[in-house]
């Protein structure tokens, strides 16, 4: 890849008059030595998997393997259809789609890690609801995934994308930033606006800890995917309206690295702190231990 920072990415896009999505596709072709058709095809297949996960979670409302969660995506989807959602039906539908993918993940269904399994709902939630709303083609959406991938690539290599390393900010926070930047570009925003969306979004999730109840990718991960989709829409709207991240997005990524590095281990996916160590969180873990392995 010819870029290491978001600033370099914006510079390349400006110099070569291409979108982030198209630039990233070309970079991937160069990096992998594969044909453009093959690289694009693989990403298209991933998008198909995301769409299927959105459908499945809402239509089939699967329970998680632990039995702790399931059915919330359908609840929120039906509520959105009712037309009385405070968010408006579009944002509420994005939230339902994100919950759906995350619930499918918890039920051992098939998903695409974006960037991780724990944060797999945010990008599909934003993408699939926006595609329905704006009538975009699948091809347009796949370029959007390359754009999201370019943003995630910079975050991952300059900070982190796993909860075990940097807390939830690194997983859900990165997913929100990727979705926000990609949506900005999908809606016709410039590469510079897309990168402002990244900084605006990331600032909102700095410090978020990873404290999964019983160590499972369910509580609070699933609802955080739902909230994440809504936050991504908000960040894209701010950027498209002309709001700028005063602290440059690359510097915000640096802050995420700083905060994650200082974060106690008990808040980095170990289930030794936060929600996991509440009286109720501990009881859920104890009950599951009693049930034991098969």
């Amino acid at each position: 890849m010819r870029f290491k920072t978001l600033n370099e990415l914006v510079g390349l896009c400006a110099r070569e008059s291409v979108t982030i999505g198209r630039l990233m596709l070309a970079e991937q072709v160069r990096e992998s030595g594969e044909t453009e058709a093959r690289v694009f095809g693989r990403m298209s297949e991933y998008y198909r998997v995301m769409k299927e996960a959105v459908r499945k979670g809402i239509e089939e409302a699967p329970r998680s393997r632990s039995g702790l969660t399931g059915g919330d995506a359908r609840r929120v989807y039906e509520y959105a259809l009712g037309g009385s959602a405070s968010l408006g039906s579009e944002a509420c539908t994005a939230m339902a789609c994100a919950l759906s993918v995350s619930e499918v993940n918890a039920s051992m269904g098939r998903i695409v890690a974006t960037p991780t399994a724990g944060s797999c709902g945010v990008i599909p939630g934003v993408f699939i609801s926006s595609q329905q709303r704006f009538g975009w083609t699948d091809e347009h959406m796949v370029y959007g995934l390359f754009c999201a991938g370019a943003i995630g690539y910079v975050i991952a290599n300059n900070s982190f994308i796993s909860g075990a390393e940097g807390g939830c900010q690194a997983e859900i926070g990165s997913a929100i930033a990727m979705a926000a930047g990609a949506l900005t570009e999908l809606r016709g925003g410039t590469a510079e606006q897309a990168v402002h969306a990244v900084g605006l979004a990331l600032k909102n999730s700095l410090g978020l800890i990873c404290d999964p109840v019983a160590g499972l990718v369910e509580i609070p991960c699933i609802v955080r995917n739902g909230f994440g989709a809504v936050t991504a829409l908000a960040a894209a709207d701010m950027a498209l309206a002309g709001v700028r991240s005063v602290i440059p997005s690359d510097e915000v990524i640096g802050v995420m690295l700083e905060v994650g590095s200082l974060m106690p281990e008990s808040y980095r996916e170990t289930a030794k702190g936060g929600l996991a160590r509440t009286p109720t969180g501990r009881k859920i873990l104890d009950d599951m231990r009693l049930e034991g392995m098969k």
């Binding site: 269904g109 890690a113 991780t116 797999c120 049930e291 392995m293």
Partner: protein, 224 residues
């Protein structure tokens, strides 16, 4: 750069819920199955640390068995793996155990058929990636991201040269290698991670070398 391409950010496609506890567990099972090399009659899976504590909710048990059956991390049948293994005549047992100093996501897989028995220990290191840390009583360290050869042989001079000569003549490059032995002149295990897949001919020639007892060829699994 830790992450080299777009598909390490968008991807992998996998069955949830966890890249470490589910996708990585599938790959541990796959690798153990490839080392054993045939259908086991009995599989005992010992889970340690976080695998033991949260494995059930993550489907780690199903994932391990799915891997033994040769399924990939994105296979929809992972959920039914225990029932499918039973149908296929594999008796599966699970145990949990504690041992100090292990990676938190560690498992030992013991596979048996007739008199044959293999003990394989490995851990899931994140993002669906694994590391095999012991095979039978040998200490090893390989990822199964590359075509890998495990060669069990006697510890004697020029053994390694004879093996690498066969590979070199076939144009196969070695990316990483390690040798562990039980004792001087005793049993030894050589592990080779290769840049190219090894053909049946080369495997056959290595297996026929004097003092080589067994060769396991592990195909490279797509990054889980």
């Amino acid at each position: 750069m830790r992450f080299k391409d777009v598909f390490s950010i968008i991807g992998p496609c996998m069955v949830g819920p966890s890249s470490s506890h589910t996708a990585g567990a599938v790959r541990l099972g796959q690798t153990a199955g490839a080392i054993f090399g045939e259908w086991p009659e009995q599989a005992t899976i010992v889970l340690y640390g976080s695998f033991a504590d949260t494995g059930r909710g993550h489907g780690t048990d199903l994932a391990m068995v799915a891997g033994l059956m040769g399924f990939n991390p994105d296979d929809d049948r992972i959920r039914e793996a225990l029932a499918l293994a039973e149908e296929a005549g594999v008796r599966v047992r699970f145990r949990t155990a504690r041992r100090a100093g292990l990676h938190p996501n560690t498992a030992t897989i013991i596979l048996k058929r007739g008199e044959r028995e293999d003990h394989i220990t490995g851990c899931s290191v994140g993002g669906g990636n694994i590391e095999i840390t012991s095979v039978n009583r040998f200490e090893v360290k390989f990822t199964a991201n590359y075509p890998t050869l495990l060669i069990f042989h006697d510890d004697r001079p020029s053994m390694i040269a004879e093996i690498t000569d066969i590979l070199g003549k076939a144009g196969i490059n070695i990316g990483y290698m390690e040798v562990d032995r039980m004792s001087r002149n005793g049993d030894a295990l050589t592990v080779l991670e290769l840049d190219q897949a090894v053909g049946k001919d080369e495997i056959g020639r290595i297996a026929k070398l004097p003092n080589v007892r067994r060769v396991c060829a592990i195909p490279p699994f797509g990054k889980a």
